[in-house]
């Protein structure tokens, strides 16, 4: 069974009962230099394995990019 979650503003269909950590693996994202907001709440990286995604969840996954001002 699949569920729909919104990741960085885009709706994605993923398999149900996936943890945040397995989602990051599935997306091929190295968890070491990112931060995750799960339904508007920041998740500590030590908790990535224990947060399980459900239908209509919203995720923001950020990293650092080149930037200076503005």
């Amino acid at each position: 069974m699949n569920i729909n979650v919104t990741i960085n503003g885009k709706i994605q269909s993923i398999s149900a009962e996936m943890s945040l950590l397995s989602l990051l693996k599935f997306l091929d994202i190295d968890p070491s230099r990112i931060a995750v907001e799960y339904n508007r709440e920041i998740i500590d990286r030590t908790q990535f394995g224990s947060v399980y995604l459900k239908e209509s969840d919203g995720l923001e996954i950020i990293t650092f990019v080149g930037g200076g001002n503005g």
Binding site: I7, N8, R33, I42, D44, T63, F64, G66, G67, N69
Partner: protein, 257 residues
């Protein structure tokens, strides 16, 4: 010869701080940052591109063990967005410093003072080392210091404008009335601008576009490094006062007759 700049107890090895935006690629970013001699390097916080699988990350080129990474809230227009961005940046586990920007106007990218104060209050309370990007306004600078910001970062001119220091008198006043370090942030165009900022007594200068937008960014990075060093030395040396009339530097005695 010079005292070491410290922010929140951390020794800063260079008075030139640089941004990492607008470069052609990460290789050029790395070369320019190295040429600048900077120790503090600012970065933006953005969504991971989940569909692009080129896995290179800026921090593969700018080693957080070597540099003090200063995440910024560039692009934020509200207190809420700036706070949210700062919290996410800290959660990424590299730094609890934040170059706090709350932009008030798209065309000039000037700061929104009210929103900045609000965001600074919240973030200082949450234990962030807050370095706010602000107007060249001494009253704002004092308010930000009173809140608990660890440095004040007044603009020289609008971001990316390259206009240089538009109000040197205000920058001097800011430097006089606050006791935390003053870091000129944004608006410098070339090495002499950086030197002027330092000659005014500022503790450091942060820039991005002036280096990244130059025809040869690596060369300009080195020029900026020297500009900052020259300006700082001149400040420490103490310049001569300006006079209306000449003052000969050769002796009057011993002239041939």
């Amino acid at each position: 010869m010079d005292n070491i700049l410290k922010i929140a107890g951390v020794e800063i090895k260079s008075r030139l701080w640089v941004g990492t935006g607008k470069y052609r690629d990460f290789k050029e970013t790395k070369e320019a940052v190295e040429a600048s001699g900077a120790h503090v390097v600012t970065v933006a916080v953005r969504r991971v591109n989940i569909t692009d699988h080129s896995k290179e990350n800026l921090l593969d080129y700018i080693d957080p063990k070597k540099y003090i990474i200063l995440p910024n809230t560039a692009g934020c227009y509200t207190t809420e967005d700036a706070i949210r961005t700062a919290r996410l940046a800290r959660a990424a586990g590299i730094s609890d410093w934040v170059k706090l920007e709350v932009i008030g106007d798209e065309r000039t990218l000037l700061p929104d003072n009210e929103a900045l104060i609000e965001a600074a209050k919240v973030l200082v309370k949450e234990g962030f080392i807050v370095l706010p990007y602000t107007n060249d306004d001494p009253v704002m600078a004092r308010k930000l210091e009173d809140i608990g910001c660890e440095a004040i970062m007044p603009l020289a001119a609008p971001i990316g404008s390259g206009l240089g220091i538009r109000n040197p008198y205000n920058i001097r006043i800011i430097k006089e009335i606050v006791s935390v370090p003053v870091v000129v942030d944004a608006g410098v165009g070339t090495a002499s601008d950086a030197a002027i900022a330092m000659e005014l007594g500022c503790d450091a200068v942060l820039m991005n576009t002036a280096i990244a937008g130059a025809k040869d960014p690596v060369k300009m990075a080195y020029a900026m490094k020297m500009g900052v060093e020259a300006g700082r030395l001149a400040w420490l040396a103490g310049r001569i006062p300006k006079k209306l009339y000449a003052s000969a530097s050769s002796p009057l005695e011993g002239m041939i007759e």
